[in-house]
Amino acid sequence: MANLTTDFIGIKSPNPFWLASAPPTDKEYNVRRAFEAGWGGVVWKTLGSEGPPVVNVNGPRYGAIWGADRRLLGLNNIELITDRPLEVNLREIKSVKRDYKDRALIISLMVPCDEDSWKDILHRIEDTEADGVELNFGCPHGMAERGMGSAVGQVPEYIEMVTRWVKKHSRMPCIVKLTPNISDIRKPAEAAKRGGADAVSLINTINSITSVNLDTFSPEPMIDGKGTHGGYCGPAVKPIALNMVAEIARSPDTHGLPISGIGGVTTWRDAAEFMALGAGNVQVCTAAMTYGFKIVQEMISGLSQYMDEKGFTSTADLVGRAVPNVTDWQYLNLNYVTKAHIDQDACIKCGRCYAACEDTSHQAIAMKPGRVFEVMDDECVACNLCVNVCPVDSCITMVELPKGAVDPRTQTTVGDYANWTTHPNNPSVQAAE
């Protein structure tokens, strides 16, 4: 079985699966259960300043969207940071860490945007023996209205400033958690790096309204007839998170900055994808909230099996392996020509490929007597829509035309790699002449 031990910015954990700062990590009881279940690390739910804790709503905190059979696909929440007294949290963190020295225990922090507040909280957590801190610059609801959370995360200058304060007043490793509610994720990551962050973690949740009650005309989750945007998470946000992780991993300004990947990680496969795109480990919340802590067992066994099959001896062999293959559109090979091919033996004759192609694409699939569906290579632009709508796995595949072959659609010969930057239709190429 592959060794899953992970060293993330000097913090060791027996596996790369951490629980994200969120409701599952709000108190000792839950965190002990998580460690007993096998989680490699925990980011304790965000602590605020000393004083009266924040209060939460007393109605629903979560909204959801579902797939078939009520499979939870997306969750949103309007819960705030911990609503328990600071001293209680600190006492519990210390108690847990004492009993689980081999696990990573990170403390998430969010205090007002002034140096004294940060200095104070950092001193208070010092003797918990926690392994590091994570700065919550991502929470998009409630706290943002008070100038914290994503209100900081949306201003790169603030990120840099606060990160500097943290590094100045603490020797603990510092992870900056980023909000996705921003147009270019690289800017806050660069700011964190400038401020001295040891790593970034992303994504925090996405501003969202999960649904609207069409009888009461209130957004969900609804509190006394009203609703507010909450933070969206779960499987539905994974593609957005993967892209943002990749953008930071491949940007020359942030390349090499350790990343803790967050966003819809539900299975070992999701985790492996984040890691391939540059995440040194992953953080999980919604999957645990949906199925309980036991899911980590599948993540551990799955990732081990995959690494064994690939011959990876450490998670470092996997981390970042897909990053060189993430590029800009303009560098994609325009001489890579494929055609859809329908395996007639596998085809169940539902005709979805035909409807999709005929109605919404390129009229490149013929429907023949007996419900036989065939691709017309002279019309197929290889868009892949038929592959995506086909209910049968691997029934429709994209077949690459070899170099030298003539594309029946364009009557051109498949040549060597060539991209948009040198394409005759590119105005900037002509301007350069």
Binding site: D69, R70, I348, G351, R352, Y354
Partner: protein, 438 residues
């Protein structure tokens, strides 16, 4: 309980009341809302869907399933009823395993089709429970049409004619409307007096008068109907029953399966309905299966279906055959009745083994006897009481005089299924409407 399955002769109360009640409960229980949602989600929304083609009434199945999936079963019911006004009953009695569900691409792919029949029932039951009848009559045309027979074909025709603004009088020879839906469907397929509820629901369109106890040829002639109405639709079904043509057929204890099935439906307390200890059902169709299974459910000890050809030739579907055998019914194939033995009442039936040759069925000469105190004949129904002027083909109506149309089991063409009768009644109504509007 005074009797048991072992009591000789034809007696009632072989099983306690609670067992009888359980045996005759809904054979395929309705889906609840969540089950329907999950089942609906399995539909691929095929292009030019094969299930629609396979449905004799051409219901837009992918559309109604999508309407269920999006939380509007009422709209789904409208989609169903627009094509098949008896969609509620068809959802219960259609042999979906040989129609829409056989054609479902998921049957082809996984051997597990989308549960179209049960979803159709979910939609129609939901809408009926809400009291919805999403059809209204067009302005009155002043024309009147006689519909003979209040079975699936006649009711379907009547509803469509009423919708087009014509006034309809339905003449029904029996005491209740519904035809085979009321008298010919196994009890566990149509529980809770559904057939009558559906008729009442259908008549809410208005403009339809039902006269029961009126039989064509006995109480009224076609000429009289033509004199009274602008057009006539015949949905008279198959009123006759084929004879065994075996010696001793008239012994006590030998009955028509269709009559037994009708009795089952019309008996309020099934513990009072007598059944034999050793029941033999002769035939290979759905009527045979329905009679055999229900005999077993009433408490008969031994029930045997005997069919003269090979099992693959049985018109009861594989699903129905399995339903019978799982209920404890034995099926013997390639045997035809030779004689019914007994002293007054039947005691044994003698069968001869048959060989299916290119020249037809031939007796092999080998015979056997089955113990029997009750025998049900289920070897097919025949057209009875076809009016003068009707041209028959293969014993069924193929052509009719002017201003007369026909549909359902009495006509040639199409299988003898409820859903086929509904389609034919509906289509005849459309033709009549065109004729009446000249």
């Amino acid at each position: 309980m005074t009797h048991s399955p072992l009591t000789p002769g034809i007696v009632s109360g072989r099983l306690p009341a609670d067992r009888i009640a359980a045996n005759f409960a809904d054979h395929t229980p309705p889906l609840d809302a969540h089950e329907a949602h999950v089942a609906a989600d399995r539909c691929y929304f095929c292009h030019d869907a094969p299930c629609i083609t396979a449905c004799p009434t051409s219901i837009d199945i992918p559309l109604f399933i999508r309407q269920i999936a999006t939380g509007t079963p009422e709209a789904a019911a409208t989609t169903i009823w627009t094509q098949n006004i008896l969609g509620g009953m068809c959802a219960r009695v259609c042999p979906t395993e040989t129609l829409c569900e056989e054609a479902c691409v998921r049957e082809v792919a996984e051997g597990k089709p989308v549960e179209i029949g049960r979803l159709q029932r979910f939609a129609t039951d939901t809408a009926m429970a809400k009291g919805l009848h999403p059809f209204a009559r067009a302005a009155s045309t002043g024309k009147t049409v006689a519909v003979v027979g209040a079975g699936p074909a006649g009711l379907s025709c009547a509803h469509r004619l009423a919708m087009h603004g014509h006034d309809v009088v339905v003449y029904e020879r029996r005491a209740k409307a519904g035809g085979l839906n009321e008298y010919g469907i196994a009890s566990y397929k149509s529980t809770g007096d559904f057939a009558q509820k559906e008729v009442e629901w259908l008549l809410r369109i208005g403009g339809i008068t039902v006269q029961t106890g009126v039989e064509l040829g006995r109480d009224v002639t076609l000429d009289a109907l033509l004199a009274r109405h602008d057009a006539v639709f015949l949905g008279i079904g198959l009123g006759g029953v084929n004879a065994l043509r075996a010696e001793g057929e008239d012994r006590a204890g030998v009955a028509n399966a269709v009559d037994f099935i009708a009795d089952l439906r019309q008996t309020a307390d099934l513990t009072k309905l007598p059944v034999g200890r050793d029941v033999v059902v002769i035939g290979g169709g759905m009527t045979a299966v329905d009679a055999a299974v229900q005999s077993k459910l009433l408490g008969a000890e031994n029930v045997t279906i005997v069919y003269r050809r090979g099992q693959e030739k049985m018109s009861a579907s594989g699903y129905e055959q399995e339903h019978a055998t799982s209920a404890g019914v034995r099926i013997i194939c390639n045997a035809a009745p030779v004689a019914v033995h007994g002293n007054g009442a039947v005691r044994e039936v003698e069968f001869g083994y048959m060989a299916d040759t290119p020249e037809g069925l031939k007796a092999t000469g080998e015979t056997f006897r089955l113990k029997a105190d009750q025998v049900f004949k289920a070897i097919g129904q025949t057209l009875a009481g076809a009016p003068e002027g009707a041209v028959l083909e293969g014993g069924k109506i193929a052509a009719l005089p002017a201003r007369v149309w026909a549909g359902g089991d009495c006509t040639a063409g199409g299988e003898d299924l409820t859903v086929t009768a509904v389609a034919q009644g509906r289509d005849a109504a459309e033709q009549i409407n065109i004729f009446l509007r000249g």
